[in-house]
Symmetry: C2
Subunit: 374 residues, 2 copies
């Protein structure tokens, strides 16, 4: 009596999760976090209209959602000045990244990303047997020229660029990306992850035709729109590529209230503006607290601030551990030299108060811990 | 300026959706359906406690859901008398079927199913390059002996069996499945789709150890629990297989209110009992209406009744088209000789009234249409 037979690719994959969620940490600690500032969620929540729309639609949850996402696609198309045929909905950008990799990457195919960029993208590439080529950050920015040069060198199927960048909060102008496109090799798809674009300055998204076959842009209702738990992201690009998702996606995979809520969220520009205002306020507050403790806040075009702890990765990891122990959920970059930083999501005044209270103690503990180890 | 390069497998796939949803048909017709009886949704909806729980949790939708599904897995484990390590959650059975195929099937690998069984399973197999071998139904039942013999003959990685069966509503006893297991070839995984098991007689699920490495069972909150639009299904089986899903699944892919709602739904056995009572009532009513119109209702262990229209597939398709034109959303089997039937989901008394009103006219139209064509 034997079990199933796994292909070599699957057998060799680790049973990992790219991120450990805060609930898991809370169960391990036996205590709730006092401030949830680690996953770049929007503690300000979605538009009250989106909340009301979702609550109403719960009564209709016995129905499968419209698999063609007709209403939401049309609303997005009007907003993006394109057609519904340019848009694909998915289970967050995570789900769409998985679909994109599946559409293009066969075992052994080359894929390019920045070393220390989004781990879930890397997870999908590994899951389909792609070979990742990683390019270092340059001055805490993703290095567009180096990414595209590497793509040409290794004949990449995909090059991944997040703009603004997670985890560093840095960004390039849309003009810089548009100018770089002539160096994108033929046959390489640029996956431009714009999860944080609502927080970024005007002009951060490149002014390129939506039908340009060389790129797909991805956005989400998880960040600015405050609906991370709804699981709704979208990609937009040339119709031929968008149609290809219909070959493989889980057509009836989207939650019905989420779809209705996203439509309402999209129509409440006032709420988004308010969130942007609150996020800007909180980012200033994070910077103030960081600087009061002798740390440096990096410029950010996102809803988080990456804070340079001023030493190496071991020190930042000790700071992070001490914050987590004191009930502050935060995360940090994985790769040197970016791992000298911790990453703090914008929060409410009460979240900032917890940060202000706990950070001096966390820094002291980290210094002591490293002295003890040294 | 060229687009991305698709692997041959992807390039050859059709841009299809396994099912056309009722919303698409409504837009095409320019009118809403009067009765929604085509997708085996539960018009009776979820437990009021589940509705309340989801509405409350909408306020928390800014948070990603717990990617380990801790609370829900523990509740399911208690119910199924197994451990959380035996359980995987997914975006409906559809999502889990996709994951299962991905875990096991490489291009060219053999997979066995019944001819006319669940199209979405076939969609996933095609999507990963598997080769489908189809076994005919036998007396409107899936033919377990023939399925397992075919699996041995073609050295299948997976054999798919739904019990109770969709679209025929027929079922086998759990004892019959357990007895057949000794003929399941080594190295073949039995995917036992129990989406409708809540509606089936005691003993329909085989009494086999949950750690048996030869099978995975799949169940859902979409049918008996009335939460199709929430997108939540689960698989249970041996821990090694369950862990393998962690290698590839979209860990943060589940909607947060859906997860909380499912937990509440699971704890309201009274509501499920009430739904079973209402479904049984409606099934009797469908049978009565069918027989009053000279049709035969097949026995069903699900929340739908498959009705034999008494002639060939062309006739049943004409009946279905006439019902749809009159505002009754129903579906039918795709493959002969099962396509002599239409499939009608249990509904409320008002849905049954619409069926009773429209069926005679639909049958008359179908007879006329075929006379005209003949």
């Amino acid at each position: 009596m034997t079990g199933p037979r796994y292909p070599d690719l699957i057998a060799a994959l680790p049973e990992t999760v790219p991120f450990v969620g805060p609930e898991v940490q809370e169960r391990q600690k036996g205590a709730r976090f006092r401030a949830r500032l680690g996953a770049n969620e929007s503690v300000f929540g979605p538009s009250p209209f989106a909340i009301a729309a979702m609550q109403d639609e719960v009564a209709e949850v016995w129905k499968y959602a419209d698999a063609t996402n007709y209403d939401l696609k049309n609303a997005l198309a009007a907003r993006l000045r394109c057609t519904p045929e340019n848009i694909v909905l998915g289970s967050g950008i995570d789900g769409l990244l998985g679909n994109t990799v599946r559409l293009l990457v066969e075992p052994g195919d080359a894929v390019v990303t920045s070393d220390g960029a989004y781990p879930t993208f890397n997870y999908h590439v590994a899951g389909y047997g792609g070979v990742l080529h990683k390019v270092p950050y340059r001055n805490d920015h993703e290095d567009i020229a180096a990414l595209f040069a590497k793509a040409a060198e290794v004949d990449a199927k995909i090059v991944y660029l997040s703009n603004p960048d997670n985890p560093m909060g840095s960004w390039h102008s849309g003009a810089a990306i548009a100018a770089a496109m002539e160096d994108l090799p033929d046959g390489t798809l640029l996956v431009l992850d714009e999860a944080y674009v609502e927080f970024a300055p005007e002009g951060t998204s490149p002014d390129l035709p939506v039908d340009d076959p060389r790129l797909i842009r991805m956005r989400t209702f998880s960040k600015g729109y405050g609906m991370a738990g709804a699981r709704l992201g979208y990609g937009f690009g040339a119709p031929r590529l968008i149609r290809a998702f219909d070959k493989i996606r889980n057509h009836f995979g989207i939650n019905r209230p989420a779809q209705v809520g996203a439509l309402a969220a999209l129509q409440d520009q006032e709420w988004l503006d308010e969130v942007l205002r609150l996020v800007a306020q909180s980012k200033a507050e994070i910077a103030r607290i960081a600087e009061a403790n002798g740390l440096r806040a990096l410029p950010s075009a996102t809803n988080f601030v990456t804070v340079d702890c001023g030493a190496d990765g071991d020190y930042a990891r000790a700071v992070l551990a001490a914050l987590v122990a004191q009930g502050v959920f935060v995360r940090m970059p994985f790769v040197a030299p970016q791992d000298r930083c911790i990453r703090i999501t914008a929060g409410r005044p009460e979240d900032m108060a917890v940060l202000e209270e706990t950070l001096p103690q966390a820094l002291a503990e980290a210094r002591d811990a490293l002295k003890g180890a040294g």
